[in-house]
Subunit: 226 residues, 4 copies
DNA sequence: GATGAATGAGTATTCATTCAT
DNA sequence: GATGAATGAATACTCATTCAT
């Protein structure tokens, strides 16, 4: 039973929701347009009318999910004036919270989109670059705060940022697969690792999370749609 | 055009070589058995005769590449008596060297195999578990060496190992994509990040690589075939 | 060349018609879905869209032909009140008429479906059971009419019914292959054989067909389509 | 482990044995030359060397099994001097005994060979003609014995013979599928049906089997090979 | 004589995509 | 605006058959 007339924006959202789920769970190639149309509750030609082709649909999905993720992080990080470690701590919690709440979207971004060549890889590269740039700038800020001298070489900082982002991605998967690991714990583990380093941890000198703000974790409207 | 007669073992190796390349570059679904057979220089039925099915072929590829990777790392790490940071340093260099030399194999292991569900995910899970277990044990050894007291909680150690492995994976991709980053540099960046931590780095207290052995990086017979 | 748009039911009938012909003449394995689609004047994907798989298609064909045959017989037999030999005589004429008019359907039911294992054999077993049950009940009725005492053992009756049905099947093939043998003649031969027995025939005591009704043989709308 | 050197005749017999089994159980199309070669314990090229092609192999199988069947019947029938009903009775027992002992051969002759078009159908037609001719001549003999006058028309006799043979085939299948039905019982059922007719049976005037000869049922060397 | 190595030619099935209404 | 009807192009997999040794 097909749903009755609806404004285009709503229909399109339903299609994208269905697509995220299908792509996230089955993968790009294994997901068929039939599946997606059925899950969205519309006919296949309508999907084509609105989203043009499978490639365009997948690209639209990637963009929407990428945007949602970066906005979640941006919202979590807080004002630019905070100290670097505090900003990172906030951002990581937002990141782990978001990936936990949108596993299909995370799967699309982290697994599916990277595995199927151009033009999707480029979308992901852009997303990653944005995040890496943010982290890079945080590291630079931390160096400034510490009056470090001389500066770390640029490429070294880039590598550190890559490492940090990779560690976060890995922990997001791990938290998603391991019962009972909260976003907060994942973030704490990563802060320790990144900020204090294993060396300090061995010496029992961990990084200490700042006292918590009053409210709950950065609000997100709701869990995964669909 | 009939392919020259060859002993089965040789042909099988050629097929696996072709498969690594094709799967690594195109992905599991997009790689067709026709492509692989052609690249291997044989007819499709022969591929089926020897490797049974696309699924079996992909599994065989995963296993071969996984084995090659773990053996390269194991060989690189050196004797068990070395200090933990030295073992890690050695292992990382071997890892980055291997992934740089076998980009298709690395793509299969890191991207393709994880994206296409069971039974491939299980193979990769096993591989990753092996590596994570090794890193976990290194961290435990480091703690012992540092006479750390009290012990880090088990789950915390697991998370740290996940983070470290994820960082390494990420840096392998980065090194593969960035002109002029050597395995040694990638390993050094990660050692700094992991061992000293960003905090120490800010304070200009980096981890110091041990003096280098005489010869070049751990020998590997040859680069990717095909 | 795009086939003209048609309602699904019509197209489905065309496909089944083409399938009966192809399966009946070439056999299940030798008939390719390409052949059937071409004969039906549609593309292969449409056949799959409507009939799902070769197995399902063949099953649908068997069911349709089985139903047509049993209904032809049921219609031919006439009211339950008739004497047993009269019912048998009517039923046999209907049977031979139908098999003569639908040789491909008869080939599917009698030859192809039995030769290719489950699940087709089960369909045919059900059909045959239905017919054998009908004959069995006729024999029982004849015994009642003759006030036979004691009853024939159940297994003996089953064997007789099998024999009669087998004889009918064989005569259907024979009539189909032999120029100039009418359904009526085949039915008469079988009635003689079955009802009088060779012994009586030798003694010149044949079974006598009842006077014929006015009209022609039981009407059937049309011959095989295609 | 391949068997060592063997005389050609023996090897060929093994291949035919394997082929009967495979064709009988799987059907002509579904049986692969690989299966047959493996079951025969020889390499595929050897099968081709001896039997030439799948078609030739199947034809050879049909001929061998047809010959075995007709010889078993001929041996069972006994001397030409016996009364017609006695000859039929003997022949039927031999037939049901043989089909029960060689189910795969019976399946090849009765099901598989008829279903796959020329040239196999011709082989079966020849076999059937031979049997029908024998039965026809028996019926003629019975008529002579009964001094029947006038003669039955030739086509009528042909039809009766077809019916009788079809009934026998059907009972062979039935006996093969029904637990506890012996060759003797099947033959008795058919003699009753054919000789006395249902009409006489209803009147409790069955055909009476002649007293049994001393020895056991017509000897056959052994059950199905392979 | 016997076999391991190899393939040409199919076969069922699927999917993204487009019309005609 | 929305959809039922339709297909071109691929894809995994199989099999009878043949050489080279």
């Amino acid at each position: 039973m097909r749903a009755k007339r609806m404004p285009r924006a709503v229909r399109e959202r339903q299609m994208l929701d269905a697509a995220v789920r299908t792509f996230g769970q089955r993968g790009y190639r294994a997901a068929s347009m039939d599946d997606i149309a059925e899950l969205a509750g519309v006919s296949k030609p309508l999907v084509y009318l609105y989203l043009n082709s499978k490639e365009d649909l997948f690209t639209a999905v990637i963009r929407r999910e990428a945007r949602a993720l970066t906005e979640a992080i941006r919202a979590g990080v807080g004002p630019a004036g905070l100290p670097a470690d505090r900003q990172l701590w906030n951002g990581l919690r937002a990141f782990f919270t978001h990936t936990a709440r949108h596993p299909d979207g995370w799967s699309v971004l982290h697994l599916q989109a990277r595995t199927h060549g151009e033009p999707f890889a480029a979308e992901i590269a852009a997303l990653r670059e944005e995040i890496v740039a943010f982290v890079t700038q945080l590291i630079a800020a931390a160096a400034r705060e510490a009056h470090r001298d001389p500066d770390l070489p640029e490429r070294e900082v880039a590598g550190l940022a890559e490492a940090l982002v990779g560690a976060a991605e890995s922990l997001a998967d791990w938290a998603g697969a391991t019962e009972g690991v909260t976003a907060r714990q994942a973030a704490a583990t990563l802060m320790n690792f990144a900020w204090a380093g294993l060396g300090d941890l061995m010496a029992d000198r961990p990084w200490t999370p700042p006292e918590e703000e009053a409210g709950p974790a950065p609000a997100e409207p709701a869990a995964q749609t669909g």
